[in-house]
Amino acid sequence: MTFQRNVAALTVAATLTVSVAAAADLVIAGRDGGYAEALGMAVEAYQAENSGLEIDRLELPYDGLLEKVTISMRENAAAYDVIMLDDTWATEFMSQGWLADLDVLGGGIDEDFVSATVAVSRYPVGTGTLYAVPFVGNVEMFAYRSDLMDRPETWTDVVAAAKKVSEENEDVSGVVFRGMKANPIVTGFLPILWAHGGQVVGDDGEAALDSPEALEALNLYLELKEYAPKGVEMYNSSEVRDALMQGTTAMSIELWPSWAPSLDDPEKSRVPGKIEVVAAPGETVGSSPMLGSWLLAVPADAPHPERARDFIDFVTSAEFQKKLALEIGQPPTRASVYADPEVVAKYRWYPNQLAALEVAKPRPRIKQWNRVETILGDYLQLALIGDLSPEVALEEADAQIAKALSR
């Protein structure tokens, strides 16, 4: 009976292959897009120095990465050696004991790293154990077209300028932002909220969205939509970047330095030299640039912790950060790289960026931020597409956030 023999053979074959699935020497879980390019370069350079090393790399979008690494940590799956973390996730990861103590693992961290980024790499924040090394020195900037308008000082100025530009120009929208739910929409909204004196979570750790300041901020945000391109509700970074580089918008309420390293490159931009990158406008409170740094950490259950630590040191060295900045425009986390003449010559806004990074405001250091952000993102988008009034959206979001915080 050949069928039975075949089945038997296949079963044996399957069992054998399952058991010998090759294991890599280093597994890295990181972001997609430009970040993936950076990690790809790092892996290549690292392999050049350590020949014969097998390195596996996972590239995932924001939500996908968070889900994958969280599940792996909770389950002790020991799947990754190096993980890339948004600084807001780090609070939960550090407080749950999911990350390896880097002081114990060796290496420490030197004085060259910008202190705001080091603070979020420690738990308790600022003073505690070092659990991560800052990899991307992202800070939320604001971009506007200097040929179309003057620099707006306040968010009210932004609305006025958006209105004026979109009325005067047929092919140029007043403003763009990321309307995509979850992290993107929240990130765009936070500087506006903060500039109005509003907060998502108050200093007492309680939900604080149901406030007149927050409502004012949301109303202003919704007003911006009037002057934004169609479909902005589903815009993500690539759409915002395209609008800026194609010259089809006058402003972007957020610009992450890593999105647009080639603002002045005439081959990639239709408006080279015309986009100014500055810290976010203020309103009742001064400008509050948001810190959005990405960290590299070693999971406590990593199969190859020493190798992972060594890799992290390699990619966060001044030399490699300079290479990443020059070649793909990834914002450094070391002050010395921002001051490097070669780097400044290429990116004229780097002094502004370092200044913003030094005073950048981190998102609330609570371990439920992931859920709070999703709730806020969902309700902001419901308000943005007009399914809910701003009042109801904030009220319900606040109630849901309060519940999430109580867990």
């Binding site: 009976m1 079963t11 074959a13 292959t17 399952v18 897009g33 596996d56 924001y62 389950e75 690539s238």
Partner: protein
């Protein structure tokens, strides 16, 4: 005469609709060899401006073969395990008498499992796999895929066992053949086409499965093709060529088996009708 003309229109229309149905697949095939510059065009031509194999090259570099191997292992393992468990069960349900209608109860339960949304079992299955130490392994995936595969296999094999004339077995029984021998030398050979159709179905099912693979596999080296494809659908929507290439490669094996599907489909789902 009128009828003949109607027939011609009907036939022509059938060809046309079939062609329209296939346009997305044709688009996938041609996009897989298109240079990236073509994506941002507004042309509706399905013919590439020039042909490139760069997407296929990139995929090979991204260890596509490894993921395909994983998918193959999982498909073969799932199919084998499901058949081993389902065949004796289907045989017993058709040929043996059960007390108190227990066979009907069992069948109804199988049906319920078949209809249960897989996501609703995902949370506890996590714990099941963890306690067996099989999280993030292909073997674990083969086991949880039985949630889909086993009810399907039992249901489909029921009909095929019924088709085996009971007289053949009775004759062998008179000759004193044991159950094992009857199964091996009579039932299995007669059922062979049915078993093959069932296997093909099970293999396609697990080859294409996404939700459990997404949840239970964390290490990139254990990713199956659908989860690998999902990682290519990212914020930067510019991987169309790569996506098409991997989509085509992942689909080729099952497109080749589409003939079997046609035979098996109505069979496996019909159950009661036929």
């Amino acid at each position: 005469m009128v009828r003949k003309r109607h027939d011609k229109i009907r036939i022509g229309l059938t060809y046309l609709v079939t062609a329209v149905f296939l346009v997305p697949i044709v688009w996938m095939i041609t996009t897989s060899v298109r240079p990236p510059i073509d994506y941002v065009s507004t042309s509706i031509s399905l013919i590439p401006s020039q042909i490139t194999l760069e997407h296929y090259r990139e995929l090979i570099e991204a260890d596509l073969m490894g993921k395909a191997m994983n998918s193959l292992i999982v498909a073969v393992g799932t199919t084998t395990l499901a058949l081993i468990a389902a065949f004796p069960a289907a045989y017993a349900l058709v040929r043996l008498r059960f007390p108190a209608g227990l066979d009907i109860v069992f069948l109804m339960f199988v049906l319920l499992v078949k209809l249960t949304p897989p996501i609703s079992l995902a949370i506890p299955l996590y714990q099941v796999l963890r306690s067996m130490g099989l999280l993030d392994t292909l073997a674990g995936l083969i086991i949880v895929y039985q949630v889909y595969a086993l009810p399907f296999a039992i249901w489909m094999l029921l009909g095929f066992v019924r088709d085996v004339p009971v007289e053949y077995e009775e004759a062998a029984l008179v000759d004193g053949a044991s159950l094992f021998r009857r199964l091996r030398s009579i039932v299995l050979p007669v059922m062979m086409p049915g078993l093959i159709a069932t296997s093909v179905f099970l293999a396609i099912l697990s080859w294409n499965e996404f939700a459990y693979a997404l949840l239970f596999i964390q290490s990139p080296e254990n990713f199956t093709l659908p989860t690998f494809i999902a990682t290519l659908i990212t914020e930067d929507e510019t991987f169309w060529g790569k996506l098409s290439a991997v989509g085509l490669l992942a689909s080729l094996p099952i497109l080749l088996m589409v003939g079997f599907v046609q035979k098996g489909l109505t069979r496996g789902f019909g159950g009661g009708i036929k």
